[in-house]
Amino acid sequence: MPHIAPALSSWPGRRIALASALVCALAFVSAAQQPQPADLVIKNATVMTASHGTVANGAVWVHAGKIAGVGAEVSAPPSATVIDATGLWLTPGIIDPHSHSALDGDVNEATSPVTPAMHMIDAFDNRDKALYQALAGGVTTELLLHGSANMIGGQAVVIKNKFGLGRDEMLFPDAPGSIKFASGENPKRVYGSRDQLPSTRMGNFAVMRQAFEDAKPYMAEWDAYNAKVAKGDKTATAPKKDLKLEALADVLRGKLYVQIHCYRADEFLTEEAIAHEYGYTIRAFHHALEMYKVVDKVVPDETAIATFTDWWGFKDEARDAIPWNAVMCMRRGMRVALKSDSNDHIRRLNQEAGKMIHYGGATEDEAIRMVTLNPAWIIGVDDRTGSIDVGKDADLVLWNRDPLSTYARAQKVWIDGDLFFDASLPGFGTPHFSGAMHDAGGFGGEDEEDGQ
């Protein structure tokens, strides 16, 4: 039996009895009296770097929250805390580029098909149990996206899964902004069912184009004003700020990464054509289940995909989903990430990566990259996390078995060098959390975003 069993059976009762007494004490102890050691070495692990292959019997040195060394040997100071990881695997933290966790059901502002001024951070519930469960599955970074009810949804929030810290401490510092677009069945169903525009794919794209047309004169007004100010014109009056148009202008200015919910082959091509027409680029298509049909046409635009491994058939536009999609697209030169879009699958994205060995024969390196470095690129934080390289954030997961197998369990999860999950601890296994979790209901998946 796993060693957690006794803790499991005694936990609820113990929690009720002691929780209130412990909360303050534990918080005090972990925050004040046990600062993370400045130097940590994890040695004798199978280190899957995601960027430069696997180091058997490798070591990783963490200094002040960053990776300071990786290889067969590292030159850490003798004062470093050493973890002997013989028989264990070390990977970068798992990164989910498509999550709706911790939004307490506020996934869609489905009152208009164009809502670019919505910010997901305003709904972020940092105590949602889904975050904890994902953390226990090795997830260290998530892109929390608006849903797909709207053609142009809201602006995403990027979090580091530092479960137990405050809301603001969980935000990924200086992460680029992303905005969620959608297409296909969901917008047309949500608004069509109310006899509103859009109720067809024609309507979908018409709404989108008009939104950018609306933004153009607004942008021109501001450009003119800014030009005057730059010239030193003190009589210039600032145009009125409009949050919606401002956000759309930011898309046209290339200030936001565009993340598009899109399933069908024809719609990838339409989306790219509209992006060319209005002069922005698409960072990633999400879901992208039919990308294998038109991948050669999309590769030149350098748009990535964040796709399911093997979900299919839940709606018409998912009918042609095949589990070989990811590897087929990767082989044709596309950057491919796997994502959860689900509070369930987010807990085992490492297994989803393992399936890529089965479905298409990905190498281990390619497979692990699909849940680490490639999703980091989609979010725009691949220079900071997503691989085990010197200088990057020490976001690391220690596994008891090969993480690409069915059998792996995360043993320890570090974020910025700080331990946020340790399966050997009693209770939740969370050094920074000992309070009450929120059961936000959340998002079960299936992409049934009806906006109700």
Partner: protein, 449 residues
Amino acid sequence: MKLASLLSGVIAIHAIALAAQPQSAPPQMLAITGGKLLTVSHGTIENGVLVIANGKIAAVGEAGKVDIPAGAQVVDARGLTVYPGLIDPETNFGLTEIEADQASNDLAEPSDEIMPHMHVYDAFHAETELIPVARLNGITNAVVAPASEDSIAGQDIFIQLFGADRDQMILGRDVALAMNFGADQRRRGGRGGHAEYPSTRMGLVTQLRQTFLDVQDYEAKRDAALKKDEKPKDEKAKDDKPKEEKPFKRDLKLEALVPYLKGERPVVIGVYEAHDIETIMALADEFHLKVILNHVTHSQDILDKVAAWKVPVIVGSIYDFPLANERYDAVFSLPAELARRGVEIAISSADAGGPVSSHSSRNLPYAAGFAVAYGLPYDEALKAVTLNVAEMFGFGDKLGSLDVGKTANIVLANGDPLDVRTDVKQVYIQGVAVPMVSRQTKLRDEYSK
């Protein structure tokens, strides 16, 4: 030239027809040699031989100890793992095609809570695209149940995932009754305080109890009426007053429940919370139902009690979410905790959050493997998706292990069947090498050109 190509065309078509009709055209003898046999019933044979004749397993054992019959087609399985086809204990195969497309769904009849006369075999769409997709990952048999909306949803079928038509694929009709109970159970009154009965769990249980009593009453009246009909004519003539007797009218709804109240067939009860499990088990005990428990997701506090009931349990979904105050692995470890207490378990492919997703049935082996990650012994996990399922639904003598006399539903894979990385190379159902194609492989191949 023309004649030759025409002839070869005929032969090719004939071969396809043969492949699609396993029962009408039993294949030749096959000997699968050199593979690692996971027998499920009697351990692992590292270098084994498995002989198939007339669609059944004719011999199984170590290389050198099993005679390979003359004329048998030899399949070289060196480097491969050979194991019995997996059996999914809860699916909606043939009852849905595209979940969001209502026209393709025949999942549940929501007009009443008590619908035992709904027979899955009346809706089972044998030609569904879902079956070949699951089959390619080594799923060869399944229970098909209605969706879990009703207190009594209908009666299940047991299928094999290959055959010319539904008659070949349905191995058992009405093999079990699908029951459900819990907070989220559909009730026509909505939840609490509405105008229609039932609207609470009190109502749901009372409705079930009254139904079972009605069945017992019905059965007595029916038997009495049948007995009267059986009386010899002269005896009837002796009756003093020749009265105009109404012929007995059968009530299909009540009649459907008779075998279950006699304990002749299992009742699969889907229930999640500990207190709901205790409530519904008290009712089942009152009427001596032969119970298979399903889900039991939040039964951690009453595991010893569940074990004491000595009923089999289907764990589905192992991916269901723990409660907010529970550790992350509270549900992941459920199969291990049940098995440790001697409970016979099966594992289903259901996704988290309730409804069965038969589109994910191909992930059945990974659910079993995940249970291993959280403490279930490997052999128990393999049993939970093979022999245990067969036994629960009355097919233990025919399926679920590599034993002589059993149906030759065999899978050849390039590794551990429960590992996500493993690729299934060939599936045999009733000894026939099933074409390893689905709509999905066709799309893959079309766009790989």
